[in-house]
């Protein structure tokens, strides 16, 4: 029963992701750059959910693994080849090693102490990347491609041009199909489809983990660690494994970010970036399969839309109203849009934490139940 439902979910998810350039066309979000970000942050959030959603261990340090992934990928582009496959591989492996180290230290504590430790370690990684390890990270300028990089596997390209990232010749930036459907100009590019395939793969892995004995143990850790220990289970390696797995997902996301745009900067490692993935997972619905992806899309979409709205746009919206009312509304609304997107996000996040701890997925479920009257039927069944 559950297995059937999972398969249906996976199929719907796959179709949705593959058709995204078409589906998002009416929303104005269907350009490759944004779609790629949806997919990549979706992967980041899926991975984070395996740690936070299942075990309840709240890490503020996952930006570090995103950064490590990006740096590893760019180094691979510089030294080996512009093919993204070895780059992604190194991203995942390096992030995994890094997560093992940080996880080993911070998982010696649990609860709030764990959160604080991950926060401190992430901030330390940021400072390391920003200044201390400048030879490796190029400090505040960020790591970039250069013409004189060795790239030992690649044939020499045209003189004076930076080569572009590719997957066996398919260039990430290349739009391979550009049809017009229903008057919308659609762009299908390789970069998005590479990210999309990775996202689908990540989603599938996440389903398998959720339904596995390993996943069951992780959920047991969240609900009662004492009982689990007295049941003969050593919980620490389980949490460490979950930590490393989620770190590897973050590394993959970081590697993909660098594959789409081959540069890596320290700001990607700041703990507030790690805070953003917390927002995504909580907003979407922690511990659910689809929630993290929804949260990622939601935040990245509105970040993009809201930041484009300024007072002029608002005045256009409210122009049908009397002047005084329109001016009033513009004054009220404008702090929340444009550069004030952070305010909206923060407020929204608080509302979700306070009133809807299950996130958007839970909200949707409640609404569905209201509509279909499942509650009433269940209550009736109980009474009978």
């Amino acid at each position: 029963m559950t297995l059937m439902r999972d398969r249906t979910l996976l199929i719907i998810f796959t179709l949705f992701v593959l058709a995204a350039p078409l589906i998002f066309a009416p929303t104005g979000a269907a350009y490759p750059d944004l779609l790629q970000r949806f997919a990549i942050y979706g992967i980041f959030a899926i991975g984070f959910n395996i740690l936070f959603g299942l075990t309840g261990y709240l890490s503020f340090g996952h930006a570090a693994f995103l950064g490590v992934g990006s740096y590893s990928a760019v180094w691979m582009f510089k030294l080996l080849s512009m093919n993204i496959l070895p780059a992604l591989l190194l991203s995942v492996v390096m992030a995994g090693i890094f997560a093992l180290l940080i996880g080993y230290i911070s998982l010696r504590r649990s609860g709030i102490y764990f959160s604080i430790l991950t926060l401190a370690l992430a901030q330390m990684s940021y400072v390391l990347a920003y200044s201390v390890l400048t030879p490796l990270t190029n400090g505040e300028t960020g790591l970039q491609l250069r013409l004189d990089d060795p790239r030992i596997l690649d044939a020499a390209g045209p003189e004076g041009f930076l080569p572009s990232t590719n997957l066996f010749g398919l260039e990430m930036k290349e739009v391979f199909w550009n049809p017009t459907v229903f008057g919308y100009d659609l762009q299908f590019n390789w970069g998005y489809y590479v990210s999309a395939v990775m996202l689908i793969l990540s989603f599938w892995i996440s389903i398998r983990i959720f339904r596995s004995p390993f996943g069951l143990m992780l959920r047991a850790i969240k609900t009662n660690q004492t009982r689990l220990n007295y049941t003969g289970v050593n919980s620490r390696p389980y949490t460490l494994a979950a930590f490393v797995i989620s770190g590897m997902f973050a590394g993959l996301a970081g590697g993909l970010l660098a594959s789409m745009d081959p540069l890596a900067g320290a700001e990607r490692m700041q703990w507030t970036v790690g805070g953003e993935v917390v927002l995504m997972v909580v907003l979407g619905g922690m511990g659910t399969l689809i929630g993290p992806v929804l949260g990622a899309i939601f935040i990245k979409y509105f970040e993009n839309i809201f930041s484009k709205i300024n007072e002029v746009v608002l005045q256009g919206w409210f122009s049908f109203l009397p002047d005084w009312l329109s001016n009033f509304l513009v004054t009220i609304v404008s702090p929340f849009v444009g550069r004030g997107w952070g305010l909206t996000l923060g407020a929204l996040f608080m509302i979700v934490v306070i009133f809807l701890p299950g996130g958007l997925v839970d909200g949707a479920r409640r609404i569905m139940r209201k509509i279909t009257g499942a509650d009433r039927r269940a209550a009736k069944a109980r009474n009978e």
């Binding site: 596995s212 004995p213 047991a220 009982r227 007295y230 049941t231 003969g232 050593n234």
Partner: protein
């Protein structure tokens, strides 16, 4: 030679001698009750057995292996299961999942990454979990969230989770504490039922004399950190030292 041997265990908290040279020998297959007035050191003793506290001196051997200094999960893997004063179960999970977890722990050990296996495809584990729930009369509640069970059912579930691991020794820490008479009697019946079908040694730490005399085959009396009497239930009932210990408490 008992299955659980405790020798010369001492534990001191500052000026308080919580355990004073405690010796205990639990025979295989017996139901050994440990009784004593409040503050006698029962909990301290139990915590020493399961690795939560480390006694200052002494040794504890289970099935010929030293137990002291081992972590709770290691002790469990040796074959010791524990029932807590307030039922410790996985409240957010279903009854079925609650029982499957100890099945996995029993079969796969303290740690195994099987992230691509499927819980629901594991026929062996499912069968085992269903059988124990059947045996405990909880099969119809399989899909319920265990946090929503009644207190008696939570206790029943916790015992099921212990039994499914086929432990050699079952530790019960005041299994009927805070229960109404009816629930207490149900629990006694349940434990007697377990005794009929399975040969598990049990150590019961208990306050309630009714429970103790309904279940125990051997009784040890702990008072002020020391064992003051040990014997068959009939012997303990009339033992002068025991009366003194309990009367002394009553006066306070």
């Amino acid at each position: 030679m008992g299955i659980l041997e405790v020798q010369n265990v001492n534990k001191r908290f500052g000026g308080l001698q919580a355990l004073n040279n405690v010796n205990l020998d639990v025979a295989e297959g017996s139901v050994h009750a440990l009784i004593g007035p409040n503050g006698a050191g029962k909990s301290t003793f139990l915590n020493c057995l399961i690795g939560k506290l480390k006694p200052d001196t002494g040794s504890v051997q289970f099935d010929g292996q030293p137990v002291l200094g081992k972590k709770p999960h290691e002790i469990n893997q040796l074959g010791v299961a524990r029932v807590f004063q307030t039922p410790e179960i996985f409240m957010d999970l279903t009854v079925f999942e609650n029982v499957m977890i100890p099945c996995f722990a029993h079969r796969d050990g303290a740690f195994k990454i099987n992230a691509f296996a499927r819980v629901l495809r594991d026929k062996e584990i499912r069968q085992k979990a269903e059988d124990i729930l059947e045996d405990m009369g909880m099969k119809e509640k399989m899909a319920a969230q265990s946090g929503s069970l009644s207190r008696g059912d939570k206790r029943r579930l916790e015992i099921a989770m212990c039994l499914v691991q086929e432990p050699k020794l079952l530790l019960l820490d005041e299994p009927t504490a805070g229960m109404a008479r009816a629930d207490t009697n149900n629990t006694i019946d349940l434990l007697n039922h377990i005794g009929e079908t399975r040969k598990i040694t049990k150590v019961i730490i208990e306050h309630d004399m009714h429970v103790v005399f309904s279940l125990a085959t051997t009784i040890s009396v702990l008072a002020q950190g020391a064992i003051i009497a040990e014997g068959l239930p009939e012997e303990i009932k009339g033992h002068p030292k025991v009366r003194e210990a309990y009367l002394g408490e009553a006066e306070v």
